[in-house]
């Protein structure tokens, strides 16, 4: 089992509903976020291109955050999801520094927090909150080992890219282009 997510940059309008949905679902404190929206503009007026994408932890197969964690708080869970065990985390911040995607933050309660792919929802057969809320249905989630999962199906037919592949982390967030 290998959970992954694909985000269609052709459909994403950058509305940030994913951010609010995550915030309410996971009680992320005001002022912090587990996911965020990036807008990249290229060109000069009127020859312009723009890409919107919703970003979060890439749930890498080769995660520097897990490797560098001195206490074992950061670990791989079911389907390759990288999780942090709050009571094992000493808040040293090594994982934050090691993440090429800047996907982690220090929770005010003293541990490091990040996207969990809403593992509590997945276990109940639900989609992650961001995927379920997105008005443009631009996010696809599922198990890459299952060829019928939405994410497997869409990656078969669309071109995609990953972010900062040169970091060698084998990220599992795919962006449809």
């Amino acid at each position: 089992m290998r959970y992954a997510m694909a985000i269609d940059t052709k459909k994403c309008v950058g509305c940030s509903d994913c951010v609010v949905a995550c915030q309410t679902e996971n009680n992320v404190p005001i002022g912090y976020c587990r996911d965020w929206v990036v807008e990249v503009t290229d060109g000069t007026y009127p020859q312009l291109e723009l890409e919107n994408r919703s970003e979060r932890c890439n749930q890498c197969n080769n995660s520097p955050c897990v490797r560098c964690c001195p206490t074992g708080a950061s670990h791989y869970s079911d389907g390759g999801i990288v999780l942090v065990t709050p009571h094992k985390c000493i808040g040293c911040g090594a994982c934050i520094a090691s993440c090429p995607y800047d996907a982690r933050y220090s929770h005010p309660e003293g541990y490091v927090d990040k996207c969990t792919f809403c593992i509590h929802r997945i276990k109940k057969g639900l989609e992650p909150a961001c995927v379920a809320a997105c008005p443009t249905k631009c996010m696809y989630f599922g198990d890459l080992d299952n060829p019928k999962s939405p994410v497997s199906e869409i990656l078969k037919v669309r071109k995609y890219k990953t972010l900062i592949p040169e970091a060698g982390t084998d990220p599992q967030l795919y962006f449809l282009i």
Binding site: V13, G14, Y45, L48, P135, K137
Partner: protein
């Protein structure tokens, strides 16, 4: 008190019998609602956490407005509920208007005060001298109160300040308005044409969802906008038009479609009136003619017209929503409507569908008295084609110098911060100073509350019942809003306030229900459901009465126009002395050193309502002034630098605004998101954040046809210090 006790009763009942659904396993309870953060009114579910506190709001899968998915504002709804800056108790003014100087009052005291004043005004001036300005669900109850009282002046700024010209344009062309949600079939369209509309930033939820579906199905998008909007970035053709020249482009598109014979000949012949006049009218309006006005390449105009024609009839020239721009807005909207007629999209799949709504019966009440006068009497020779009340018309008529015929002495303002919804704030203030009574009902201490004599704190939509949502859609449907929690603080729902006022004003017979549940249950039972069922399902969708979502092939049609045809040549406009076919007139251009002020929406905020919502503030805390890099370089403005904007009348923004230096904006205009720069310090998160476009809109271009207030004829320049500092130096 009986009302809130019964609301709690319903909550308890749901705790004992949890609803069925996919999220049941999350072990919580849910109650139905429809969103009040914007006018789209998406239906959804309010979930509570283990402590029984409001946790999150999720879309209702059965709802055609949301299809189970809320937009960021709707998802952020709990932020409105938990906002500690909310209005908490009734307030009565103690000093002059314009300052937040109030004393706290009990509900009895506040309502007695209002009722006494209203009755006094009715005695001295007549009940018709009272008006309601409203933008929110609770307006229905205050509307009934005023109708029962004998006033017919009930207005929403969403007409004259927003969608009014579009409605009149479609009424004069097709005999019917576009309505809300708009009857556009984006889901099945092959070509969506957006003119100044920025779907995606403008989160009309169902439309954004359908635009995404259409992209999936390979539909093309054409966007006309001086700004490279999100929609423009997803478009096959982006037409970076010179602002204020849209009508020239539209007429040249009509020229191309007619003279290249790309129009739907059978449709035009069967259904339309005035084709030959239109053809003659646009004879010389070639793309080359339009190029000189719009700066758009003729080839781009032709190619985009061909794109539409190839998709016809599954093409939508989107009527838009906020269309009060330059004062000739009814005519511009007409030109857009005419392209839809020429391409046969009105009444066809992928174009415009025929919506259907449920007629929710009113609780029986005595007939409303006929008002002796209405706002229209203030304008005997004007705005004859305005089919709804003009909020700006009421405002102007309140100033005795402007109108003697129908002066208003009392306003009830429900859920609309007039300083951000009606242009020319100074005039609004002047009107208010002529009032004997201003009552403001809101959930938040918006600037308008500072001018009220009495402020009534409404509980949020998450804490109350409201009218049954009956908006038209592909299938007729209703949605229920019910309280997910008891009202926080000393706040009350609108229906309760209206009923209590009615009792005090001797109008109790118009509100003869014992409690809201009784009324809603009675209404719902007339529709074959019940309050109990709606509490469980939230949304009920009915089958259509007839199979008439689209025209049948070759169907005979009678349109609600004078000729019974789709009027390319408008007999109604001609009769009133207006151009029966739209004519391009040049609009004033910015003087040297000034830039046209354009404004729009951000997906995370609605009007000025949401700026203080902690969840949404986190997404966008303040607006920015979009400035083209070439312009910024000339002025020495750096990205992120705070500047002040000053308009052509010397009005400078109260607060500085961050410059966003971006290629996405034309060099001749400045763009900002509406709804920021709040001046009330009680809004702790929103006060002083960003600048207000509304205060810079001091020049209003009136639409002579229906009284729309065109707001895009204002020009701004850049200043590097606030006015006060300048005076001091």
């Amino acid at each position: 008190m009986a009302v809130s006790a019964s609301a709690l009763g319903v909550y308890k009942k749901l705790v004992h019998s949890p609803p069925q659904g996919s999220e049941l396993s999350l072990d919580t309870t849910r109650t139905p609602t429809y969103c009040e953060i914007c006018f789209w009114k998406c239906a959804g579910w309010v979930y509570k956490n283990e402590e029984g506190k409001i946790w999150k709001v999720i879309g209702n899968d059965e709802d055609q407005h949301s299809n189970g998915r809320f937009c960021p504002r709707g998802t952020g709804g709990p932020g409105m509920y938990y906002d500690e800056d909310r209005l908490k108790t009734p307030l009565i003014r103690t000093k002059e208007r314009g300052r937040q100087v109030f004393r706290e009052a009990s509900w009895d005291e506040a309502l007695d005060y209002i009722a006494e004043k209203m009755l006094g005004i009715a005695e001295e001036h007549g009940p018709e001298c009272t008006a309601l300005l409203t933008h929110g669900s609770g307006g229905t109850y205050f509307g009934d109160l005023l109708k029962a009282f004998g006033s017919g002046s009930i207005a929403a700024p969403s007409y004259a300040q927003c969608r009014g010209p579009r409605e009149v344009a479609y009424q004069t062309t097709f005999g019917e308005g576009v309505g809300s949600p708009e009857r556009i079939d984006i889901r099945d369209t092959k070509c969506l044409v957006l003119i100044g509309a920025h779907l995606g930033e403008n989160m009309h939820n169902g439309q954004v969802q359908e635009m995404s579906d259409a992209i999936d199905k390979g539909a093309s998008i054409i966007t006309v906008d001086p700004r490279f909007s999100i929609a423009a970035s997803k478009s096959k053709y982006w037409l970076p038009i010179k602002p204020a020249t849209d009508l020239a482009l539209l007429l040249s598109w009509i020229h191309v479609i007619i003279y290249e014979e790309w129009y739907d000949k059978a449709y035009v012949e069967k259904y339309t009136y005035g084709f030959e006049q239109l053809k003659a009218h646009v004879r010389n309006m070639t793309p080359e003619w339009a190029y000189g006005i719009t700066t758009l390449e003729p080839d781009l105009i032709r190619k985009s017209a061909k794109e539409m024609a190839d998709a016809a009839p599954a093409v939508i020239v989107n009527p838009g929503r906020h269309v009060t721009w330059y004062g000739d807005d009814t005519q511009r909207s007409r030109a857009m409507a005419m392209i839809n007629a020429l391409l046969g999209s009105w009444g066809n799949r992928g174009g415009f569908y025929n919506p259907e709504r449920v007629n929710v019966p009113s609780w029986p009440h005595p007939p409303f008295p006929e008002p002796k006068k209405t706002w229209k009497d203030a304008y005997p020779d004007k705005y004859k084609l305005a089919f709804e009340t003009l909020a700006s018309g009421i405002c102007d008529a309140t100033i005795p110098a402007i109108s003697e015929a129908c002066n208003f002495k009392a306003w009830i303002v429900n859920g609309t911060n007039l300083f951000k919804t009606i242009p020319d704030a100074e005039k609004v203030k002047e009107a208010i100073q002529n009032l004997e009574l201003l009552v403001v009902i809101d959930t938040m201490p918006m600037a308008i509350t500072g001018w009220a004599d009495v402020v009534l704190p409404e509980c949020t939509y998450l804490e109350r019942y409201d009218t049954i949502r009956d908006s038209p859609h592909r299938k007729p449907a209703i949605a229920l809003r019910m309280p997910a929690a008891e009202p926080m603080y000393n706040t009350k729902p609108a229906y309760w306030m209206a009923k209590e006022l009615a009792n005090r004003m001797g109008l109790g017979e118009y509100f003869s229900w014992n409690n809201i549940e009784e009324m809603l249950d009675w209404q719902l039972k007339q529709l074959g459901t019940s309050l109990e069922e709606m509490q469980r399902i939230g949304v009920k969708t009915f089958e259509r009465s007839y199979d008439d979502l689209y025209f049948q092939k070759g169907q005979e049609m009678e349109f609600y126009t004078n000729t019974g045809k789709i009027e390319l040549y408008s007999t109604a406009l001609a009769a009133e002395g207006f151009d029966p076919i739209p004519r391009y007139t040049a609009h004033e251009e910015p003087p040297p050193g000034y830039f046209r002020l354009n404004y729009g929406r951000a997906p995370s905020h609605t009007f000025g309502r949401t700026a203080n919502n902690a969840l949404l503030k986190d997404l966008m805390e303040e607006n920015t002034a979009w400035i083209n890099p070439k312009v910024a370089s000339e002025w020495g403005i750096k990205n992120g630098q705070y500047i002040w904007l000053e308009n052509q009348d010397g009005v400078r923004s109260s607060f500085p605004i961050q410059a966003r230096v971006t290629e996405r904006i034309r060099w001749d205009s400045v763009y900002m998101v509406h709804g920021f720069g709040h001046t009330n310090k009680s809004l702790s998160r929103a006060y002083g954040k960003g600048a207000s476009d509304s205060e810079l809109i001091t020049k209003v271009l009136l639409d002579p046809i229906m009284g729309g207030t065109g707001m895009r004829g204002n020009f701004v320049t850049f200043k590097f210090e606030s006015k006060e500092e300048e005076v001091e130096s």
